[in-house]
């Protein structure tokens, strides 16, 4: 096809692109993936039976705020890396704030717990499966973000893959909270974070291949 024909055919279809289109598309990708993850959690793992009373407790909100703030922070990076000439990513250092806050709570926990119980508190009931479940549950959200990127233009593919993995992991962990009965800050700090980091690592590995356009 010559260039003139190409221009004419491209100009035949010029839909309106609202100002907020980029954010909306990324939000839709995450929401679509999150819906699948929520179904997997509800059907495959089961919602924790005491969810209602847990929602009046501290540890449930501690977990939610931790994973939710990581998810929101990662979305900031996703939005930036979805553009071809990304603006500064320095703001991503703020992702350390929830980590440090949770570590602070964890130190408080250690102080309040006799040292012979430390290991049990740290490992909880589910340390062996938690990171892997978070990683698995992140997959649908990551796929949703891949869909978002199809109309966007990431040029730093590895970074975009990593940050998309981070966002997917953090939101997957947020949904996983509906199932997971663990209460310790140290547990969340270690095993949730590990799952989220695994997702980010997988994103970094897959990004250059899957995000290419």
């Amino acid at each position: 096809m010559n260039t003139e024909q190409l221009i004419r055919s491209l100009s035949g279809n010029v839909p309106r692109v609202p100002r907020r289109a980029l954010g909306r598309r990324i939000g839709l990708g995450i929401l679509g993936g999150a819906a699948v993850t929520a179904v997997l959690v509800a059907a495959g793992l089961g919602i924790r039976p005491d969810l209602h009373s847990a929602m009046h407790g501290f540890s449930f909100w501690m977990k939610w705020i931790y994973t939710g703030s990581l998810g929101a922070g990662a979305m900031f990076g996703v939005v930036r890396l979805a553009r071809p000439a990304p603006t500064s990513l320095k703001g991503l250092w703020l992702l350390l704030v929830p980590v440090l806050l949770l570590a602070g709570i964890g130190i408080g926990e250690l102080a309040d717990t006799p040292s012979r119980d430390w290991l049990a508190m740290w490992l909880g009931q589910s340390w062996k499966v938690c990171p892997w479940l978070v990683l698995t549950l992140a997959a649908p959200i990551f796929v949703g973000l891949l869909w978002s990127f199809r109309r966007l233009a990431p040029t730093r593919l590895r970074a975009a893959g990593a940050i998309a993995g981070l966002a997917a992991g953090a939101w997957a962990a947020t949904i996983y909270c509906l199932h997971c009965p663990e209460v310790s800050a140290l547990f969340v700090l270690t095993w949730y974070s590990l799952g989220i980091l695994l997702a980010a690592g997988a994103g970094a590995l897959l990004g250059p291949r899957l995000l290419r356009w």
Binding site: L6, L10, S11, P15, R19, L22, R83, A85, A153, R212
Partner: protein, 179 residues
């Protein structure tokens, strides 16, 4: 005279608002810009240049949601063009001699350049028209000395001297000395 940032950006924003005619005008105006962008970086590869121009036009069209209306259009455009070119090399498994990498990565019309252009225009008005033109042609538009000489219908050495004297005068002005 090539179409500038302001006009391109206007077309782009109208296109984003659904104006098909503006979108078409934009794509049409990009063709010569992209041809020279790729042409300068891929020597002796006419077909590849045209392929890359088309691929970039398609990306500009399908990925226009990634354009931020608050930022310069040309920065966005050339970032896409540069990505398409790097991908092109990767696909062909072409290895690029290291001394060419710099030329490939030259930033073209980036944000800084866009605002710098205003300053440069301001500065150049203080020079003689011949010096200003010679600097504009060789240092901003990227013409060779021979091309600039042909365009201004003067000798090549005249171009070189004009550039040299003009830059010297500019440097003096920036340092705050009056020539």
């Amino acid at each position: 005279m090539q179409i500038g940032e302001a006009q391109l950006k206007t077309w782009m924003t109208s296109g984003l608002d659904g104006d098909a005619a503006a979108h078409e005008a934009l794509l049409r105006a990009l063709v010569p810009l992209l041809r020279s962008f790729f042409g300068r970086r891929l020597r002796d590869a006419g077909d590849d240049v045209e392929d890359l121009v088309q691929e970039t036009l398609i990306a500009v069209h399908t990925r226009r949601a990634s354009y931020d209306r608050d930022r310069p259009f040309t920065a966005w455009l050339y970032a896409i063009a540069r990505y398409r070119m790097i991908d092109h090399f990767r696909r062909r498994k072409v290895s690029v001699p290291i001394e060419d990498v710099e030329a490939i990565l030259i930033t073209e019309g980036f944000e800084d350049a866009a605002s710098a252009k205003l300053d440069v225009d301001d500065l150049l008005t203080g020079l003689s028209p011949k010096q200003a033109q010679a600097i504009r042609d060789t240092h901003i538009e990227g013409l060779s000395v021979a091309e600039a000489a042909a365009r201004a219908s003067i000798g090549e050495s005249d171009v070189k001297v004009s550039v040299h004297r003009g830059l010297k005068a500019l440097a003096a002005r920036i340092r705050g000395e009056q020539p």
